[in-house]
Every structure is written in structure tokens, then in C-alpha cells.
């Protein structure tokens, strides 16, 4: 019996205008369940989203206006499905290659793949370079994550995807596929300095939880330098 394939797509009002492109790319794929996790969206936002229901076979909108962080909301969404469901984590604005949904994750594995990043004046190809590189800089775009029975760390406000991927890599529960299967649109990222700082703090938290001290110290030092540089910009 084939397993249910669920796309987890969190969205909040600033990103709603990007959702149309993502739903367009998903509309070309059969047999997937698209779960939109709306956070602090108005009734008119929800009504505007419902027009796309006829374009996607299995389309569900859940609404959460609580103060829960994204990790909590993602885990809550996952818990409503059976244990052998396969999840594909993406964002509003992402474009998905049709072949992504042929990839199936099993036995607590996290599967990732290359990603294309779209900036205002260029594209960048982001490729995974191994654990050591991950300790300096994250080369895994969360829109490339495919997993089954894995939960996000709810203690992390941002960078929950980095923490998840690091824990999988360390426990040898990670496989990377050398194909570009997602585009992430960063032409108008809206990523504030505050959010970037929170993201770095999440990264530091994750490393402290997961890494032995001898490895953690130099890696986290780099993050503290990045944090200081960010604070200097404020």
C-alpha cells in the first residue's frame, strides 16, 4: 500500500503573495496532500487561498493564530497523520521539481537534496558539503527536507530545520541526493536582522545539545562572531 505524501507548507500574511507560485508548481504533481499551515492569516486571506482548492487534488488549510513557534506548529500538523506518512517541508515561494515526490524517507531517515536559490540578480546552487562544513555554515536548505517519523525540537524558535538536520547527520540518519529539486525564492526574503540573530541562537542551542564539547566549542565560536557582527549592524 503506498504511503501518504504530505507537503507541509507554513505561511503567514507577508508571504501569502508568494504562495501562488508554489501552488502552481505543486498543481503539476499527482497523489500528494498539501497542508497549508496559516499563522495569523485573516478570513479574507483564507478565502483567497480556497480558490486554489480546485487546482490541487488534496488541499487542506489549517489555521493557527496562537503564539506557538513554528516547531510546535509543524509538529502539531504532523501529529494529525499516520506514523508512516512522508513529509515534504517547503515554504511559500518555493518551486518544486516533479521528481522530488518520488523520493521516500524511511526508518527515521532525513533525505535532502541540492537547492537553487533565486536572488534579485542571480541564481545560486546550494550543495551539501558534509558534516564539517555544516558546523561552519548551513548548506542544507530546509525546503529540501524529506522525512517521516521525525519531530522538530520545540525549544528552538528559528533554525529548527538546522537542528533537525544536524541531529540526523550525527546519528547517521541522513542521505543527500545530488539533484536540484527545489528553488527557494530569496528575491524579497524579508529576513530581518532580528530573525537572523534568532536563527543563529537556535543554531548555537542545537550545537550545544548535539555536539561533543571539543567539536562544539570552535563551531559555536564562529556563530558567536556572526552574532556580534550582526549586533554591530543594528
Amino acid at each position: 500500500m503506498s504511503r501518504l505524501k504530505v507537503v507541509l507548507l507554513p505561511v503567514h500574511p507577508p508571504k501569502l503573495r508568494l504562495l501562488k507560485k508554489t501552488l502552481w508548481s505543486l498543481s503539476h504533481v499527482k497523489d500528494i496532500y498539501v497542508k497549508i499551515l496559516c499563522h495569523r492569516c485573516s478570513e479574507s486571506d483564507i478565502a483567497a487561498l480556497k480558490q486554489y482548492q480546485r487546482a490541487i487534488e488534496f488541499f487542506d488549510i489549517s489555521i493557527d493564530n496562537t503564539d506557538s513557534n513554528l516547531s510546535v506548529r509543524l509538529n502539531r500538523a504532523k501529529s494529525s497523520f499516520d506514523i508512516d506518512t512522508i513529509f515534504y517541508r517547503i515554504d511559500a515561494g518555493d518551486i518544486i521539481h516533479m521528481d522530488k515526490f518520488h523520493i521516500v524517507a524511511e526508518n527515521e531517515m532525513l533525505i535532502t537534496h541540492h537547492a537553487l536559490i533565486k536572488y534579485p540578480n542571480r541564481f545560486d546552487v546550494v550543495k551539501y558539503r558534509g558534516l564539517l562544513s555544516q558546523l561552519v555554515r548551513n548548506y542544507l536548505v530546509h525546503s529540501s527536507f524529506i522525512f517521516s517519523d521525525s519531530d522538530y525540537d520545540e525549544g528552538v524558535t528559528l533554525a529548527q530545520d538546522y537542528v533537525l538536520s544536524l541531529s540526523k547527520i550525527i546519528r547517521k540518519k541522513h542521505t543527500h541526493i545530488n539533484r536540484i529539486l527545489v528553488l527557494k525564492d530569496m528575491t524579497q526574503s524579508g529576513n530581518t536582522i532580528n530573525n537572523r540573530a534568532l536563527s543563529i541562537k537556535g543554531t548555537i542551542y542545537g550545537k550545544k545539545q548535539l555536539l561533543p564539547k571539543i567539536v562544539c566549542f570552535p563551531s559555536v565560536l564562529i556563530d558567536y562572531v556572526k552574532l556580534c557582527l550582526l549586533k554591530l549592524r543594528i
Partner: protein
């Protein structure tokens, strides 16, 4: 639903969003035709007013305009009369042609084969079939060295697809194999068919040829899926004439490591070092000007047809309610 006319069209007399209003007769005709065919794909019919064509318009342009006029819904007799294309000119185009640059010649042939299709005369049909047989024996390859590569061949063959596919004209296995090899060599990591990241005309040509080859059992599925991903990635309230690249260094590495002919490598190198830095003139017309990464009426029109062909070839149920119609030219979608 996902793509609408308002994403692709500009105000009445402009070729690009921020371009100057067009005033030239021929340029105005082109933008009216591009607009009209674009709208027809959304099932909106626009009238085309035809004033007398300027006498200095070349034979190339007249034959280039014919399929556009027909696809806009202009009656065949009216179109032929307006363009002053008669049987003698059609016969001349089909029998007296140069194979030096097959892309150039194929544009004239697309128009003359459109005329053959609508006139339905036995003598012209025979000439058309004879032409295609001759070109097929040479695999639609140009004779001049600089035009002997894959890009020129794919771009040339594309212009014969509407006639070949509509009338089930047989093309040899050898030619199809050559074209398949061309396509596989041309597609880059980003999924487009020329540097830096696609050129509207070439993307349409390649996708239609890939769809045509798929009908004969050639496995172009991956090529088409990669291009669909690339095509959606390049869409941003329209499709640009040239897509954005990753980096000049990556482009160069990709060009040199590809399996295409030296002519194609040189063509692509010129694209990334020279062409994308210059102003672009659609079909050489001074007023149909744009920058390399602009969205133009032409690039949006070609982008739309490229998308429709991808959807058709990949068996995707089309959710935008776009209209495919019997086309004699650039709107042709292989079923």
C-alpha cells in the same frame, strides 16, 4: 488561475513594461500580433486592423508575419493579400533557398509551409514534401561552418514541426536521433537549453522538438521535467527574454564541459560575454527593444506556449484553462 493575461501583457502600445510607446507601422503590427495571439491562448479574441504593408518590408519578414496573422485569426486570403504573397513567391521560397543558415531559412519556410497548408494545392503540397525530404536527408543541418551546431539545427527543425506534425510527414530515424542527441547535449544544470539560463526562442524551439521526439518513443521525459522546473523558476509576473545565471564562472564551466559542438560553445560564450550586456532588438526591429533580462511581449508569448507544450508533453492536467488551437506557427503545440 496561476497565470493570467495581466501577468503577461502590457499597455496597448508597449513592447516591455517600461518601454517607450511604439510608433512604427511594422513594429506596431508585431506587437498587435503578439498581443492578439497571447490573448487567444486565454480564449480572448482581438481584432487586427490591417493597413497597407510598407513596400520595403523584406520577403523574410512577410513570411515570418504570415503564421502570426493566421494564428491571430485573420482570414487566410486576407493575410496572403495583405502580405502580397502569391503562389510564385511560395514556390520560390520552397525551391530556391539557401542551406547556409538553416535557422534563417526555416523562418521563411515556416511561413511558406503555412501558406501550403491553407491553400491546399497539390503542386504546392508536392513541393513542400520534396523540400522536407531534401532537408531531412541532411538532418536539417546548415552548410556554413558557424551554423553547423546543435542550437542552429534544433532552432531550424522547430520551424518545420507544425507542418510535419499536422500532416504526419515522415522524418527519418537518423534525423530524430541527431536531434535527440542535440537536446541532451544542450540542456544545462539549471534546465535551460542555452546560456546563461535560457533564451525565450531557443527554449520554445527545444521544448517543441522534445515533445515531437517523445511521440516517437524518444525518452525526453527528464529533459521536459527539468525544463518545467526551470521554466517555473524563471517566471516572475512574466518570463524574461534571458534567464538569470548562477555565475559567469559556472556558466563557463558548464559550456566547456558540455558535449555540444564547438559552434554551440562559441555561441553560448558570446551570449554570456557579449549579448546579454547589449540591448536586444526583436527580429532586428529598432523599436522592439529591450534589455536582456526584461520581460517582453514576445518573451511572455513564447514563455506561455513553452509552458503549454510542457504541460501537454508531460501529461499534466492544465489548471489555467489555457487554449490550444490549430496553429500554423509559433503557437503550435505538439499533441
Amino acid at each position: 488561475m496561476f497565470v493570467e493575461i495581466k501577468d503577461l501583457d502590457f499597455s496597448e502600445d508597449r513592447f516591455t513594461l517600461n518601454g517607450l510607446p511604439i510608433s512604427g507601422n511594422l513594429e506596431s503590427l508585431y506587437i498587435n500580433l503578439y498581443r492578439s495571439v497571447l490573448h487567444r491562448h486565454f480564449d480572448v479574441v482581438r481584432d487586427i486592423e490591417l493597413e497597407k504593408i510598407d513596400q520595403n518590408v523584406s520577403e523574410y519578414t512577410r513570411f515570418h508575419l504570415l503564421p502570426l496573422l493566421l494564428d491571430s485569426g485573420v482570414q487566410s486570403e486576407k493575410a496572403l493579400t495583405f502580405l502580397e504573397i502569391d503562389e510564385e513567391k511560395i514556390k520560390s521560397a520552397l525551391s530556391d533557398y539557401s542551406r547556409e543558415n538553416m535557422w534563417y531559412t526555416s523562418n521563411i519556410h515556416m511561413g511558406s509551409l503555412a501558406a501550403v497548408s491553407i491553400l491546399k494545392r497539390d503542386n504546392l503540397n508536392s513541393l513542400a514534401l520534396q523540400l522536407i525530404q531534401e532537408l531531412d536527408s541532411k538532418s536539417f543541418t546548415s552548410t556554413k561552418w558557424k551554423y553547423k551546431g546543435s542550437i542552429n539545427r534544433i532552432a531550424a527543425f522547430y520551424h518545420y514541426v507544425p507542418f510535419i506534425d499536422t500532416h504526419n510527414v515522415e522524418i527519418t530515424l537518423r534525423t530524430k536521433e541527431v536531434l535527440f542527441t542535440d537536446l541532451k547535449g544542450l540542456q544545462n544544470t539549471l534546465g535551460s537549453f542555452c546560456s546563461p539560463n535560457g533564451f525565450s526562442c531557443m527554449e520554445l524551439d527545444s521544448v517543441v522538438v522534445a515533445a515531437y521526439l517523445k511521440k516517437f518513443g524518444f525518452d525526453t521525459e527528464d529533459l521536459l521535467k527539468n525544463k518545467l522546473f526551470n521554466h517555473l523558476s524563471n517566471f516572475d509576473n512574466g518570463w524574461p527574454l534571458y534567464g538569470l545565471s548562477s555565475s559567469r564562472m559556472n556558466d563557463i564551466k558548464e559550456i566547456f564541459s558540455s558535449s555540444v559542438f564547438i559552434q554551440d560553445k562559441l555561441w553560448n560564450l558570446k551570449k554570456i560575454f557579449v549579448d546579454i550586456r547589449k540591448q536586444q532588438f526583436d527580429n532586428g526591429h529598432a523599436e522592439l527593444v529591450s534589455e536582456a533580462h526584461d520581460k517582453t511581449l514576445m518573451s511572455n508569448y513564447f514563455g506561455l506556449v513553452t509552458y503549454m507544450q510542457l504541460a501537454q508533453a508531460l501529461g499534466i492536467v492544465e489548471k489555467n484553462n489555457l487554449e490550444v488551437f490549430n496553429s500554423y506557427g509559433l503557437s503550435y503545440v505538439v499533441a
